[in-house]
Symmetry: C2
Subunit: 336 residues, 2 copies
């Protein structure tokens, strides 16, 4: 194995100078740096990531923290994870996955000192992990957000804006009775789960503002639960002519269930999905129009924000809300 | 911050002894080790993962390598990733995600020396990454496998066995014309993609052995492509009474498409999915019977195999084929 001493001998400089170049710990004159880098190239010297990390106190590793057990991650979560890994790669970072279910476990991970920073997924309104990361002075960002709008950096989908876009579309078509179907992860750990809470709040407020009578329906996060919700809705609420659906997993079953219950889409009921991906709108069967909010951009922007924070710890927190875009593929129409 | 010297002073031992305990680099008498560990606990000393990694030449990090661009990962891939992360956690390892599209990029990652070992996802028949890892002498395992059955360690689903199980079930019901629908990722990079190749080969061989005329249908990996395949199949091959489907993404659209084309499931056509998850069988809508092969076990077993290899580099390669289990929820029946 080629050592730093070999590089120093070849370049005719001291070992300390090579260390400065390799670890980026001190400025080295360009001509000297060039000699060192040429010697490294000639000898095939390879920087050791761990040695550099220890020397610079920067591992260039960030952690993506998600719940291991409580929640079956959906396709949006997958696109967030893969986009985050790609964005980190482009910035010279590695992403480690931390499947962590409680604060004590997260603290144990943090104590190892492996990562430069942390991104939290599946954030709740009063997320206890935020307090821990703040106390431990670990740079971090949220994918999603707490109910504190002035708090730490976050990148989130603009659920309230998507509700407004969806209601505008359906009321412009003439609908006066628009229900909201929420895919609910269930269980006490998810009582303050951001997407569900924010979508419901915005829907209730916007319905009141427009003089519409609200109807919130809950379903489990899978297709068969979606079908059951459709069966119940068709039986109990024949006056509903439009439904907005927040849950990509329940969506197809919900539409199949409406049709099976004799409610044609969109002739009898218009269906509009909230916060699905453009890929789903382009390929799902049955086809469902949506207010699209790409998960991949969420992952990319969150990584960029964290990398910038690591470069400048004094930067103010960054709060990004990604808007949704209405994409219509025929599941909405004027009511009969 | 508490240093190793503080621990040494408290325990009344030398700094070297503390280092042996912390880094596991040399055996220390149990009584002495107990004193050192008590001192670490009293003082709140925390091991630094990076320092320990550098000292022991073990980072306790393994990489999960998957293609970043060519392929939209499905729900099975997600369950593999999350299960691998959880299994690694339990063994004291971290998992980094490497979204890597070519061998040169993988080599660049490896050169950093960050990881102790590598797991490859989405393996092709003659995967060039295998040659690179072998040459670099990096411990690795495959999730999936190449066409070399005596090669490096792998954990794969037993696609041939699943085909046999599926054909047994359908021919026992009396079907004599059973088609195979393959969700094809498409593109030259996937020409030797293991699941597709192995399933097709087994289907053709098993059909011949049973005197059945085979029919292979290809679809893109999404619901709408599944629907198109169903429409074409219903129009061109009215004699087909059974279909096995290898693609979780195309499946729901395929069944919806059959029904829309006037072919009732299972009355006119029996549909059996191959290699989906038990969760999908339990929750999918429309409900489809399947030969189930859980992705989470694939991720768990692959991590365990790699960790064991790291502990004993001389161990022979481990070749694991996970069998599928027939789970029936009503989408198959005797032909009319």
């Amino acid at each position: 194995m080629v050592t730093m001493q070999d590089v120093a001998d070849r370049a005719g400089v001291s070992l300390t100078t090579v260390s400065f170049v390799v670890n980026g710990t001190k400025r080295v004159a360009p001509a000297t740096r060039g000699r060192v880098e040429a010697a490294m190239a000639d000898l095939g010297y390879r920087r050791n990531v761990l040695a550099r990390a220890l020397a610079s106190r920067r591992s260039h590793i960030v952690a993506l923290v998600f719940p291991a057990l409580q929640h079956r991650l959906g396709s949006t979560a997958l696109s967030i994870v893969t986009a985050a890994a790609s964005a980190a790669t482009e910035r010279g970072f590695n992403v480690v996955l931390w499947p962590v279910d409680d604060v004590a476990q997260l603290d144990d991970y943090l104590s190892g000192g492996l990562v430069d920073g942390v991104l939290l997924m599946e954030v709740t309104a009063d997320d206890p992990r935020v307090a821990l990361l703040t106390e431990r002075e670990v740079p971090f960002g949220l994918i999603g957000r707490t109910d504190d709008p002035t708090g730490p950096s976050f990148v989130d989908m603009d659920f309230a804006g998507m509700v407004t876009t969806g209601l505008d579309h359906l009321t412009d078509l003439g609908h006066r009775r628009v229900a909201l179907l929420l895919g609910d992860p269930g269980g006490p750990a998810w009582s303050g789960y951001g997407p569900v809470v924010r979508t419901e709040q915005a829907y209730l407020a916007e319905s009141a503002r427009r003089g519409l009578e609200p109807l919130v329906v809950r379903a489990g996060q899978d297709p068969r639960s979606g079908r059951r919700a459709a069966t119940a809705l068709a039986a109990d609420h024949a006056d509903v002519t439009g439904v907005m659906v927040l849950d990509e997993a329940a969506l197809s079953g919900f539409v199949n269930g409406l049709v099976a219950a004799g409610r044609a889409v969109p002739d009898d009921v218009s269906v509009l999905a909230l916060a699905t991906s453009a890929a789903d709108v382009a390929t799902a069967d049955p086809a469902v129009s949506a207010v699209v909010a790409p998960g991949s951009e969420l992952g990319t922007r969150a990584v960029h924000g964290l990398v910038e924070r690591l470069a400048d710890p004094a930067a103010p927190p960054l709060h990004v809300l990604l808007p949704g875009t209405l994409e219509l593929v025929g599941s909405t129409a004027a009511p009969r």
